[in-house]
Amino acid sequence: MRFAFTDEQAMFRDTIRDLFADLCPPEAVRAYTQGDARRVEGLWAALAEIGVLAALAPRDSGGLGMNEVDLIRILEEAGYAAVPEPLMEHAAVAVPALASAGSDLLEPALTGQSTVTCALETGPVVAGLVVDAIVAQVGDDLLAAVTSWDAAPLSSIDGSRRLGEVTFDGSAPLIGADAVLASDRAVLGTAAQCIGVARRLLDATVEFTTQRHQFGKPVGSYQAVKHHLADVRIGIEFAAPLVYRAAWSVSRPTLGADTRGRDVSMAKAAASDAVDRACRGALQCHGAIGYTYEYDLQLWLKRGWVLSAAYGDARRHRKRVAESLGI
């Protein structure tokens, strides 16, 4: 019983954090989000190079044979950097699904030649306009590997989503992967990103309110601001462990789907609440400047809003927890 990340996991996290800081600064996020850039220059190749894309594929199929615990802090960092590409959908959901199915779409996905998203819920598909393939849920719990489809563009409040209203015919081959597991992976990965977004919003707001003066004092010295931000910090402090714990649960094939599902839903419920609180606190403590399109805070605010609802909002996951508790 040891609830801690290994030094290797911490180093991997730090490496990726630096990589995001290098290759995916706010300007890059903004360019992608505004549609000025089709992709984040050099990022996908670098992620393939360093093994993030292949993390969840077993070694014998060309992957790194890592598990969700190894990847969870990476996805958290993706939220912290507001990485606009479908990294979670590709690395955390599509790759393990394609691997377990032995699909020939796996290899280009590992090398980064292709980008694969997933379509596990009704409604628009993230990056549906950008990707080369889609791992789509069909029927109750079957997955199909879709390579040709029609996508009608839909604009999201968060431009980085590149939403597509996707339609495809029945010719897409079914792949023998577990759709419930895929869905739990997407929920978990989204929860991790929520934590990262919340951390960034908090850091940015602490910095801003320390610099910004009103009435001759730093804004951050007012007790009301202090308590807003303390509550943001508390929300993150007690949501993150549930996310890490759920990563462990998903990484344990022996664990029952019920327990796994409950752990994942607890993580998303807490992470959605944490990022919601972070969005409110960050905007209110910034004041008008935080409300502008020109100022970078909006990149994280919008990411927070969409990820809080993506793959089920807090109440939907609390409902799932309630059912699993038999109440």
Binding site: I157, E294, V306, A309
Partner: protein
């Protein structure tokens, strides 16, 4: 106490509703934050004015109907309930007009009120500066007397409608040696004044919701001072009261939104869609709070009509309506679920982005709560 509407009120409500249903644009018009939409909204102001429904609470000689407060509240309920366009003239009508009525010379009243009512002059507010937000008294923009003009230099920001407005009502420092609340003057500046540059600022979703104004040696006539040189703070605070209070955000606006919200849930129920009971509870709570704001306002109105003044109590309302508006729209987005993020034709999302500014503008809600604590409850300042 008598809550039965008087016959004249029933008639007034009916006339107002009829007129709006007959004259309101049949197709939605473009956003007032685009040049095209701004002018469409200006034309709508003119239609309202010609129909006598632009400024019903004003005296008839300025194009109004001498409505009393109750009638004005009914008008607001009908206006927002009708789904008519937003008022591009709102800043002038609710923030500047009370000031001109209270502090303006009769010449200023004759000069500025009629074109404000007709939409000929659309006004923007020029108060905030990069370093003077919540701390308004930190204003740096100077207006130095030179003959019968002031020479204005400085920067204003967060000016709603500022991009296309015809006039700006500003707070400037006419005594450059003065500090804080002293030496400020309330000055009306034509937007086409030489040396005045504007730059739009996008709100969260990129819509150019405000402008920054840069004053470079702008010469403004001394006749455009309201309330006297150096008395700007006192004059402005009178407006701030109305900004927080009734005139900016009347209950009618939120009652209409709450109606749309409950209608959305009813439609979901009719379509046989599952509505999360916790959201049903939230919607009921929103509806109750909207009614609470309505009846608190009618209570307040009766007091005002008996001669009471609206003082720091205005801060109670500002906190309440701004947080109600935010939760109302957040609830709507929760009802939409994962498609809430889709911007295409999503009025709730647009309304949410707008509502997010509510707890910030017109004095942050933190400032408002301080005012409630210190000036309504009498808690010690320090």
């Amino acid at each position: 106490m008598n809550l039965d509407p008087e016959p004249r009120h029933v008639e007034f409500r009916h006339e107002c509703r009829e007129w709006l249903n007959t004259h309101k644009p049949t197709v939605p018009i473009a956003s007032m934050d685009t040049l095209e939409g701004f002018e469409e909204h200006r034309r709508w102001e003119r239609v309202l004015f010609d129909g006598g429904w632009s400024v019903p609470a004003w005296p008839t000689r300025y194009g109004g109907r001498d409505c009393d407060l109750i009638e004005w509240l009914i008008y607001e309920e009908e206006y927002w309930g009708s789904g008519a366009p937003g008022r591009v003239a709102a800043n002038g009508l609710s923030l500047l007009a009370p000031t001109i009525f209270n502090f303006g010379t009769s010449r200023q009243q004759d000069l500025f009120l009629p074109p404000m009512a007709s939409g000929e002059h659309i006004w923007a507010q020029g108060w905030s500066e990069p370093d003077a937000g919540s701390d308004l008294a930190a204003i740096k923009t100077t207006a130095i007397r030179d003959g019968d003009h002031y020479v204005v230099n400085g920067q204003k920001t967060w000016c709603s409608r500022g991009a296309f407005a015809d006039w700006i009502f500003c707070l400037v420092r006419t005594d450059s040696d003065s500090r804080r609340h002293d030496g400020l003057t309330y000055l009306l500046v034509p937007a086409d004044t030489e040396g005045l540059e504007r730059r739009t600022i996008g709100r969260l979703d990129g819509v150019p919701g405000f402008a920054e104004l840069f004053f470079n040696d702008c010469r403004v006539s001394v006749d455009n001072v309201v309330g006297g040189e150096g008395r700007g703070w006192k004059v402005a605070m009178a407006t701030a009261g109305s900004e927080r209070g009734l005139s900016l955000r009347s209950p009618g606006r939120f009652m209409a939104a709450a109606e749309r919200l409950t209608a959305m849930v009813r439609d979901m129920v009719d379509r046989g869609e599952a509505v999360d009971p916790t959201l049903r509870d939230e919607v009921a709570n929103i509806w109750i709070r909207t009614q609470a704001y309505r009846w608190q306002t009618y209570l307040l109105a009766a007091g005002l009509m008996d001669g009471a003044e609206i003082g720091p109590e205005a801060s109670l309302g500002k906190v309440f309506w701004s947080e109600l508006d935010l939760e109302l729209h957040a609830t709507a987005l929760r009802l939409l679920g994962e498609t809430a993020e889709v911007a295409n034709g999503n009025d709730w999302l647009d309304g949410y982005v707008f509502a997010l500014a509510g707890p910030i503008y017109a004095g942050t809600n933190e400032i408002q709560r301080n005012i409630v604590a210190e000036r309504v409850l009498g808690l010690p300042r320090r």
